[in-house]
């Protein structure tokens, strides 16, 4: 914890704010890619203290938010099947499908369990040989190695009652989609540190070159984020577009090679739909031919899914950084964490939930005057 507190130190933060203020000569818009970064920025009020010209655009890096509605509906259908034990990370349980969420399925008698790792689900499968155990394997490159490991172990053990519903998405294709979008305003990226801890950042130099966009690998604590911003501003102000690693204590250029090997063994690249954004070519992973037996989509006949998104929800624009959550007319009125219209309001890493949970339904200027005396 001492290690963490060092990256939350108020005095150092103030120094970095002053430094960023000093080097900024004109407005810049940059995107923090990962939802964890968005969460940290809003929770700590980083954006309130930046110079006026620096705009942080919140990226699509919240795995819960971008999992397509069709996949949620499939999960709900599988979870409701008799005999199935459906295992998921906790924050997927409240994500609304077309008609309900996993909590509802559980209240209606479905056996839905919160686990912390696909390996926990594997254990449940071993302990319940007469039940079908399904793990909802979503997320970016960060969560993929554990899922790959679970599938590879299941194959080794010939565990026939285990499968995964896979909806993995990949960060670099999403960054590319953002840069080619006509709505794009992003001038620099704060790349997702944890994704890079697995994948390294060898995928980024071509992106930086092609779009002439600075990419700074950035961590999650307030000081990490500030350092990422500082380096991005320096590049922007000096007309550079390089890939820089500001999260060196965790990320290396090559990344985790063992994990990458495991991913290669189990997954293959596929086109993937992103909730609120649409299909991005080659932006996801699915189980390859050799491991398809463990793919829940193949194991369970799930048909007749007709998805229905809320017509009011603008999460797609939020995810692409085109609007801020507060610009959506449903925000904080008909759409709240209690009754979310879209996934960005559910996950703690979703931009809408971060805005709501940390009180951004009140004007920033209004809450900024709250200064307790102790």
């Amino acid at each position: 914890m001492k290690y963490l507190n060092e990256f939350r130190d108020g005095e150092t933060a103030q120094k970095l704010f002053r430094e960023i203020d000093r080097i900024t000569t004109r407005p810049w818009a940059m995107m923090e890619v990962c939802g964890g970064q968005t969460h940290s920025i809003i929770r700590n009020g980083v954006d309130q203290l930046l110079p006026k010209g620096i705009e942080l655009i919140h990226g699509p890096g919240c795995p819960v938010c971008v999992t397509p509605l069709e996949m949620i509906d499939k999960a709900l259908a599988i979870a409701a099947k008799p005999g199935v034990i459906f295992c998921s990370f906790g924050d997927m349980l409240r994500v609304p499908g077309s008609h309900k969420d996993l909590f509802r399925v559980r209240s209606e008698g479905g056996d839905v369990r919160i686990v912390y790792s696909p390996l926990d689900a594997l254990k449940i499968a071993r302990e319940n040989p007469d039940r079908q155990v399904v793990f909802f394997g979503i997320g970016f490159e960060t969560t993929a190695p554990a899922n790959a490991m679970a599938v590879s172990l299941a194959a080794k053990e010939k565990l026939e009652n285990f499968s995964v519903l896979i909806s993995h998405v990949l960060v670099p294709p999403a960054m590319e989609a953002i840069m080619t979008s006509p709505l794009n305003r992003v001038k620099a990226f704060l790349a997702a540190g944890h994704v890079c801890s697995v994948m390294g950042y060898w995928e980024y130099p071509p992106l930086a070159e092609r779009f002439r966009v600075p990419i700074v690998i950035t961590g999650f604590e307030p000081l990490d984020v500030l350092e990422g911003i500082r380096r991005a501003v320096i590049q922007l102000e000096t007309g550079k577009h390089e890939v820089e690693n500001a999260y060196g204590r965790v990320v290396s250029f090559e990344g985790n090679k063992v994990a990458q090997q495991m991913l290669k063994q189990v997954f293959e690249v596929t086109d993937r739909g992103w909730r609120g954004i649409g299909v991005i070519p080659k932006s996801g992973w699915q189980l390859n031919e050799e491991y398809r037996y463990y793919d829940a989509e193949y194991r369970f006949e799930v048909t007749g899914i007709e998805t229905k998104e809320s017509p009011l929800c603008r999460s797609g624009e939020v995810l692409q950084g085109a609007i801020k959550p507060t610009e959506c007319s449903a925000f904080g009125t008909v759409c709240t964490p209690r009754s979310p219209l879209g996934a960005t309001m559910v996950s703690s890493e979703g931009a809408c939930a971060a805005y709501y949970n940390y009180g951004r339904f009140v004007k920033v200027e209004e809450i900024a005057t709250a200064c307790p005396v102790t």
Binding site: N44, P63, F89, T336, S348, E349, A370, V373
Partner: protein, 352 residues
Amino acid sequence: MSSDIDFSSWTCPLPLRDYPNIVLGHGGGGKLSAELVENLFLPAFRNPAIECLGDSAILRIPAGRLAFSTDSFVVRPLFFPGGSIGELAINGTVNDLAMSGARPLYLSAGFIVEEGLPMAMLAKIVERMRVAAEKAGIQVVTGDTKVVEKGHGDGCFINTAGIGMIPDGREVGPARAKPGDAIIISGTIGDHGMAVMSVREGMEFDTVIQSDSAALHGLVEAIFAVSNEVHALRDPTRGGLASSLNEIAAQSHVGMALNEDVLPVKPDVQSACELLGLDPIYVANEGKLVAIVSSSAADAVLEAMRRHSLGGDAAIIGKVVAERAGMLTARTKIGGTRVIPMQIGEQLPRIC
């Protein structure tokens, strides 16, 4: 805290021993029920009122304002580091009474036990209750037991209700906070919730996180001994400190402004929270109180709390303001601000 007790040595358990597990008959009102009362509950809670074995306990109480409270206890696992459902059932209701400024006097205890619960486990829970009641100086004077079929309960549920007397001159309530008041917490937050969660989720840390389960009426007495200028008291259980302060803010029509930098959180609790993506301000406590005290009395109350064994880490964490009525805000460690709203449901561990 007494740890494992030797079931065979502490009562005359012969008839109970014939039943190593609870059966439906133990809640049926017949001979088995009577044996349970006689061999388990009476020896544990022995006092004149309960020994009458009437349909009600007959009590003589002093004149004045009576506080009356009830709470039900449901926890999985039943035993966790630093406590069990037994301590919670006693301390929880004692604390609810104490938060009204009352001196707790008597409790009732209702058990809903699942068929098949090991008798030794129930005995252990009751023993924990006995020790907690003794420590708190409160009597359990009436009780009831029902048994539900296997699969229809989570081992053991307990309801306790209690009464206490509020001495003259104490005027506390969630609607009484005033702008300018100081907000004082009696110690580190989130200990209980993370103790339970770390066992439930099989997380292992260098040190075992202990629940803070404790009866707080002694601490409350210590506070009132130095000042009656206490406007509101809360024990931040479910929903944590954030929920308690939001409730007071709403009912008193005031704002609450915290300074995150001075919120006391144990390092291992903080680490466990980081790991699961939880915020300790929303995590349950079972042995902490938050006091809203007029600013002139704040230092004296803080000192009194720190002198008490349950208030060593007490800290002034913020103040009540007139602005932003109904809202809890905090200055973050790096100098930003955030609103801390009520939590919708449970906090959900996040994905990565």
